[in-house]
């Protein structure tokens, strides 16, 4: 079974994003970028399934500017076998990403697609579900455990009240939650090896997908800042403040 893994180049998770001064977008010039953390978990899961003999080739796909090649090289250094970049400098919203991924799925015919459950930049949490909907496939979102069992897939999901177990017909789309696994560190020799792995580049036009944005960003702003608080000396003062000043207990 071939596995397709989708990876996004996103802001590094340690960086606090700020709006541009004119409110037209988010300041990303000279900001550290990295693979979206949830996508790292998705790549790791594909590799573990391959190592367990439950998956064949792993193809990493990214959609974005030329710099997304770095993200694909990271995925290949982790263990993906090859990469596909759908290169565009235009904004690609989740619905368009899902359509591009669908086109890649039709070319590659994987038995499973694994993606991060959300990207930490736009926080949409949409792409995996949209891809499953477009393909008419089953979806195992927010997965914390994935186990292929013949022609079905057992998925344990993180839900509001705890955990839910479902069984999916294959092929299926899985989106990775935080507790699915702990991604491996990339070793230097693997980074060197990854440079020799095949990386194909396509364009949205070659895939016949219209990526025109449906959502128009009118402005961005910083949320209202919290007024600075005070330090209290001890628990007595804290309780007094909560009772008499804040009146919340």
């Amino acid at each position: 079974m071939k596995i397709l893994v989708a990876v996004k180049r996103a802001i590094d998770y340690n960086v606090k994003a700020r709006p541009k001064a004119d409110g037209s977008g988010v300041e990303l010039a000279n900001v550290k970028m990295a693979m979206n953390p949830f996508d790292e978990i998705a790549v790791e899961e594909a590799i573990r399934l391959q190592e367990a003999g439950k998956a064949g080739e792993i193809v990493a796909v990214s959609i974005g500017p030329a710099a997304s090649q770095e993200t694909l090289r990271t995925a290949m250094a982790m263990g993906a076998d090859r990469g596909v970049l759908v290169q565009t400098d235009d904004e690609v919203q989740p619905l368009a990403v899902a359509k591009l991924l669908k086109a890649i799925v039709e070319r590659e015919q994987p038995g499973m697609v694994i993606l991060g459950k959300q990207a930490i930049d736009d926080d949409s949490n949409q792409t995996g579900q949209m891809l499953a909907g477009l393909l008419g496939w089953a979806q195992g979102t927010f997965a914390c455990n994935v186990a292929p069992e013949g022609d079905s897939l057992a998925v344990k999901r993180e839900v509001d009240g705890g955990l839910q177990s479902i069984k999916l017909k294959m092929p299926a789309v899985v989106t990775a939650d935080l507790r699915l696994n702990e991604p491996r560190y990339v070793k230097l020799p693997n980074i060197m090896k990854a440079k020799k792995k095949p990386l194909d580049t396509l364009t949205p036009a070659e895939l016949g997908v219209d990526i025109t944005p449906r959502l128009k960003l009118l402005k961005v702003a910083e949320p209202p800042a919290r007024a600075g608080g005070v330090k209290v000396a001890d628990v007595q003062e804290l309780v007094a403040k909560l009772r008499n000043e804040a009146k919340v207990i």
């Binding site: 988010v26 477009l134 089953a138 927010f142 057992a154 330090k231 628990v235």
Partner: protein, 311 residues
Amino acid sequence: MTALVIAEHNNQILNAATLNAAAAAARLSGGFDVLVAGHNCGAVATQAAAIAGVGKVLVADAAQYAHALAENLAPLVVSIAGGYSHLLTASTANGKNAMPRIAAMLDVAQLSDIIGVVSDDTFVRPIYAGNVLATVQSTDRIKAITVRTTGFDAIAATGGTGTIENIAVQADAGLSTFVSEELTKSSRPELAAADIIVSGGRGVGSAENFAIIEKLADLLGAAVGASRAAVDAGYVPNDYQVGQTGKCVAPTLYVAVGISGAIQHLAGMKDSKVIVAINKDEEAPIFQVADYGLVGDLFKEVPALCEALAK
């Protein structure tokens, strides 16, 4: 045109998050209906019909809707979506699971996690872990929306006079089956709806030590939450997680104990009315958002706080 709110429920009780989603729908110009898809969910339909301002309550009652599986819910919503200008659901695990599938099947974009309604086609939503608020306009004929519950005060659960209508069900898609669920049992308030939350972080150190967080929570009648670090370390179950990718909460009082205050945690709690932080590291970022900060060893301060509260 009318909006459709997809109800969240467990086939017996309407989840309160639906009232927040309905509150967002009520800000739109065309009124709203509610869809209750479930199995033996008549009681939920009755509750939905009492939501203030509701028009119709559409009921799809069949076994394949019992667990809100997206593969079955999506085609049902798509079958009736043509009559609506907006589709809304709360940003719960079920809502986040189903709405993008519905949107893609309708070939429309989704607006995730809205916290404000500017007009019928323009909405405010947090991006980048809530560090940026985006005002976004949709050009699609149907607006598919998930609603962050903390962004909208719940609409009244009573006073409505909705008319209940059964709608045609769709066959089981045959793609997915529910197997089981392990829900955390607790006598404490539900995290998403609690007035007071006491959360523990990595500083708590172990699952056993979480007992002191729970004791404080019980004294305050509070729910218990946690940072990602505490959940990853196995101190508490996953559904305790507050943050960018866990639950977003905005209680009257949030007490953060042994939590340093990573961007991702702050994203889930910084809209709380009053924030208290107890941490031994006075440089911890949590103090930048705390109204009241207490620098000290949590193993000394939390028991002392319990004692002071008990007085």
